[in-house]
């Protein structure tokens, strides 16, 4: 079975972002970009399934403008077999549009499993996997912390409020990863070299028949009202006195 893993290029996890002074967005010039961390977990899980003999091929897909292929190349260096790049003019394609583009790719590729990160750490939307599952009419399991592929089914343990839930999904299915599903591997130098020879197929939204016009109009982007540090206290007794005065005890 084929596994499709959509990956997103985002501002690196460790970068402290800055809002542009004119409120038009977040400063992205000369900022380190990386694969969305949840998507790395998705790639890792797909590779482990392939290594366990449960999958035959892992295909990494990304949607975005120039340099998005670098992120696909990262997935290939981790071990994905080939890539598909839906090249767009702009970054920040909305989840609904991404889901439609992925649906069109899935129609051509026929994977049995699609594994996505549960959310991207830039827009924090947490939508794409669920939207894709809906458009395909496939079952979904979000926030996966354990995945066991059986015969025509997959058992998924999910991190939910209050604990864990385990679902059995009929394949084909869509899964989204949570933090503790696995620890993604680093690409080795030989694998980074090998990845340069792996194919990345380019496609356009137009040839996939999807309109990429956004539905949400971004009116402004602003800094959150900051919190200022308070006072350092010397003892637990002092702390309790302050908390009583503040009326929170």
């Amino acid at each position: 079975m084929k596994i499709l893993v959509p990956v997103k290029r985002v501002v690196d996890y460790n970068v402290k972002i800055r809002v542009k002074a004119d409120g038009s967005g977040v400063e992205l010039a000369n900022i380190k970009m990386s694969m969305n961390p949840f998507d790395e977990i998705a790639v890792e899980e797909a590779l482990r399934l392939k290594e366990a003999g449960k999958a035959s091929e892992v295909i990494a897909v990304s949607i975005g403008p120039v340099k998005t292929d670098e992120t696909i190349r990262t997935a290939l260096a981790m071990g994905a077999d080939r890539g598909i790049w839906v090249k767009t003019e702009e970054a920040g394609i909305e989840p609904l549009t991404v889901a439609k583009l992925l649906k069109a790719i899935i129609a051509a590729e026929g994977p049995s499993l699609v594994i996505l990160g549960k959310q991207a750490i830039d827009d924090d939307c947490n939508q794409t996997g669920q939207m894709l599952a809906a458009l395909l009419g496939w079952p979904q399991a979000t926030f996966a912390s354990k995945i066991v592929v059986g015969e025509g089914t997959v058992d998924v343990t999910r991190e939910i409020d209050g604990g864990l839930q385990t679902l059995r999904l009929a394949l084909p299915a869509v899964l989204t990863t949570d933090l503790r599903l696995n620890e993604p591997r680093y690409a080795s130098l030989p694998n980074i070299m090998k990845a340069k020879k792996k194919p990345i197929e380019e496609k356009s939204a137009a040839e996939l028949g999807v309109d990429v016009a956004p539905r949400l109009e971004i009116l402004s982007t602003s800094e959150p009202s900051g919190r200022t540090g308070g006072i350092k206290l010397a003892s637990a007794a002092e702390l309790v006195a302050h908390l009583k005065t503040a009326g929170v005890l």
Binding site: A141, S222, V240
Partner: protein, 318 residues
């Protein structure tokens, strides 16, 4: 006219009781300006429906009760939402694991781009939401005729109680198969729910072990009648269960009092708690970023300070 249609709020509940985040999401739903109907989907969920009917401002409760909605799997609940959607101008749910799983499915099927994690309703079509772990706020206008929203409930006060809204049964939507429930491990706890607690005591990596977490964080929480939270580092290290995680990808909380024990204050953690009313940090590293958001800081060994703090609290309450 689309804007005169009522708003449908998807209730968060466990059949027997209504989760308090529902009352908070209701405040956001009411801010849209249209009458609000609450959808309670479950199996033997009459009690949760009755609790929803008591919430102030609810015009009607829709109860979808049956085996199809047992455990509230995303596929059947989304199918129900899609069936009900044409009668509504907006579909709203709290940003819980359940709301996050169901709402995008509904949105996609009615071809609407969802607005996730709304923290303020500016107008019926305009919302503020955090991006980049809350390090920036975005104001967006949703151009789709129907709005689909998830609500960051920590940003809204709970609606009151005293209402007696009518409860109407709704028929099953077409079954949406493909997923079946195998099991659940939900920790039973006498402590308040993390997402609705008035006081939260959280522990970080500095606790050093699950035993220490249990011996230091939990007794302080119990002395304060608080919920227990944890940083990602503490959860990853196995000191605390995953559903205690506070942060960008865990729970976002805004209690009256947040006590951070041995938490350095990574931006992803701050994203989950910086809207708390009063923040206390106890950490041995005086340069830890947590002190930049803390109202009261104690620099020192938490293994000495916490027991002392507990003794002071006991004295104060005596």
């Amino acid at each position: 006219m689309a804007d005169t249609l009522p708003t449908l709020l998807l209730a968060e509940h466990d059949d027997a009781s209504l989760n308090p985040v529902t009352a908070r999401a209701l405040t956001a739903a009411l801010a849209l300006g249209a009458p609000v109907h609450v959808l309670v989907a479950g199996e033997n969920a009459q009690a949760a429906a009755q609790a929803a009917a008591r919430l102030d401002g609810v015009a009607e409760v829709l109860l979808a009760d049956g085996p199809a909605y047992a455990h509230r799997l995303a596929e059947p609940v989304a199918a129900l939402g899609v069936a009900l959607a044409p009668a509504y101008g907006a579909l709203v749910a709290p940003s819980t694991a359940f709301g996050k799983s169901v709402m995008p499915r509904i949105a996609a099927l009615i071809d609407v781009m969802q607005v996730s994690d709304v923290i303020a309703v500016i107008a019926p079509d305009t919302f503020d939401r955090p991006i980049y772990a809350g390090n920036a706020l975005q104001r967006v206008r949703a151009t789709d005729a129907t709005k689909v929203l998830t609500i960051r409930t920590a940003s809204f006060a709970a609606a009151g109680e005293g209402n007696a809204a009518p409860i109407r049964a709704v028929a099953d939507a077409a079954p949406a198969g493909g997923a079946s429930f195998l099991g659940e491990e939900i920790a039973a706890s006498a402590r308040p729910d993390l997402s609705a607690a008035r006081i939260i005591v959280s522990g970080g990596r500095a606790l050093g072990s699950a035993e220490n977490f249990h011996a230091i964080v939990e007794p302080l929480a119990d002395a304060l009648g608080a919920a227990v939270g944890a940083s990602r580092a503490a959860v990853d290290a196995g000191y605390a269960p995953n559903d205690w995680q506070v942060g960008q990808t865990g729970k976002v909380v805004a209690p009256d009092l947040y006590v951070a024990l041995g938490i350095s204050g990574a931006i992803q953690h701050l994203a989950g708690m910086k809207d708390s009313k009063v923040i206390v940090a106890i950490n041995k590293d005086e340069d830890a970023p947590i002190f930049q958001v803390a109202d009261y800081g104690l620099v020192g060994d938490l293994f000495e300070i916490v027991p002392a703090l507990q003794a002071e609290i006991a004295k104060a309450k005596a």
